[in-house]
């Protein structure tokens, strides 16, 4: 056994590069760091040298209130089993993050997908602008928070219209009347009798 635990080992690597981090430990096998955008590449390459050879996940999170995107990298080391999350916030207007395919070649398609769904540019990745999953998309990138899939669906794909008494079998539509009465009562209760 090592004299220091794996989590402390990760800490040592990260702190040898930058002190400007926000750390949070998530469970027994996982740790997260929020770092500056400039440090990401150096951190990833030194973690790779230390054995975090597998890029498990790459994506982004949208924070419209702060006007930021957060890019996430999850790395894993099979011999010292710790998942390391590296997160960096970037500007939401004209978002751009240098590509990491020189460090992890497997990131190529993750970056293409992130560009497609968030609109983040990845200079350094030769094909990041090519469409991967969507085809002939004509709106803002769909995973941004200000995109409303419901409105898009209503605009493009007409939904089926059912008549009011579609599921009601009795002739006098008693069920419909009952439903209307109940709705009225619920409304009254909710507003406390006021309008």
């Amino acid at each position: 056994m090592n004299s220091i635990s794996n989590l402390e080992y990760v800490d040592k690597i990260i702190l040898s590069i930058t002190k400007d981090i926000k750390k949070e430990s998530i469970g027994e096998y996982q740790v997260g760091y929020e770092v500056n955008q400039a440090d990401v590449h150096q951190l990833l390459s030194s973690l790779k040298l230390e054995g975090w050879k597998q890029l498990s996940y790459l994506s982004a999170i949208d924070w419209p209130e702060e006007n930021k995107f957060e890019v996430v990298y999850v790395l894993f080391n099979w011999d010292k089993p710790i998942y390391v999350q590296i997160r960096a916030k970037i500007n939401r207007d004209n978002p751009s993050m240098n590509s990491i395919i020189s460090i992890f070649p497997g990131a190529k398609y993750y970056e293409r997908e992130t560009h497609e769904f968030f609109g983040i540019a990845f200079p350094g990745n030769p094909e990041y602008k090519k469409q991967l999953i969507l085809e002939q998309w004509d709106d803002i990138p769909p995973l941004r928070k200000d995109f409303d899939p419901s409105a898009y669906s209503a605009k493009k794909f007409p939904s089926r219209e059912y008549p009011d008494d579609f599921s009601v079998k009795d002739k006098d539509n008693q069920v419909l009347e009952k439903n209307a009465k109940r709705k009225k009562r619920v409304k009254k209760l909710r507003t406390g009798g006021k309008k």
């Binding site: 769909p142 899939p149 669906s153």
Partner: protein, 192 residues
């Protein structure tokens, strides 16, 4: 007792002869339907059980077919994203007539669980005519087989005539396709 006297029968018109031949054709067609294996969505996972020994589709005289041109049925198994719909319309137009469409699952009927998704269409019958629907998420093999029997009944009663509708209302279908897809023709590196 019937008279043995020979009477000259009225000559059948061309239309009547055609009708009789179609009836004969439909009889044979509905008892040997070829199914196009195009797994468009998740309901395709229940097709192998209904094809293999447990439920055995072949006792209905149905079998899987690899190419669209030799197939009778286009089985739409589940939701259709826009990208699949383009390929589906290609495939449907390649099939030789008469051609029938069966839609499995709730999603082709009204969108199902993906009714507000930005990538999944809500009603299949806006884009190509559908002869039989099998509802459920997902329909189990019994109801899939039941759907096939329904289609056979439909062919017998001349109700499964979606392919005629596609000819008759072709403009309407094309207009809907263009509204949802923008362009039906695919442009990418491979298709140039």
């Amino acid at each position: 007792m019937l008279s043995t006297k020979y009477t000259v029968r009225e000559k059948l018109s061309k239309k009547e002869i055609d009708r009789k031949w179609w009836e004969v054709g439909d009889y044979f067609r509905r008892n040997s339907l070829w199914l196009l294996m195009y797994c468009t969505g998740c309901c395709a996972i229940e097709l192998p059980p209904s094809m293999t020994s447990a439920y055995d589709m072949e006792r209905l005289g149905m079998g899987p077919m690899a190419t669209p041109r030799q197939a009778d049925i286009l089985l739409v198994s589940g939701y259709l994203s826009l990208k699949t719909l383009r390929r589906l319309i290609y495939t449907y137009e390649q099939m030789s007539e008469p051609r029938y469409v069966i839609a499995l699952g709730s999603c082709p009927i009204n969108g199902g669980i993906y009714h507000d998704s930005h990538a999944v269409i809500n009603q299949l019958e806006q884009y190509i005519p559908v002869d039989t629907y099998v509802a459920g998420c997902m329909p189990n093999p019994e109801s899939v087989l039941n759907g096939f029997v329904d289609l056979m009944e439909g062919i017998k009663n001349k109700k499964a005539n979606g392919w005629k509708k596609y000819h008759k209302n072709n403009d309407w279908y094309k207009e809907n396709q263009l509204h949802a897809l923008g362009e039906v023709v695919i442009h990418d590196e491979f298709h140039q």
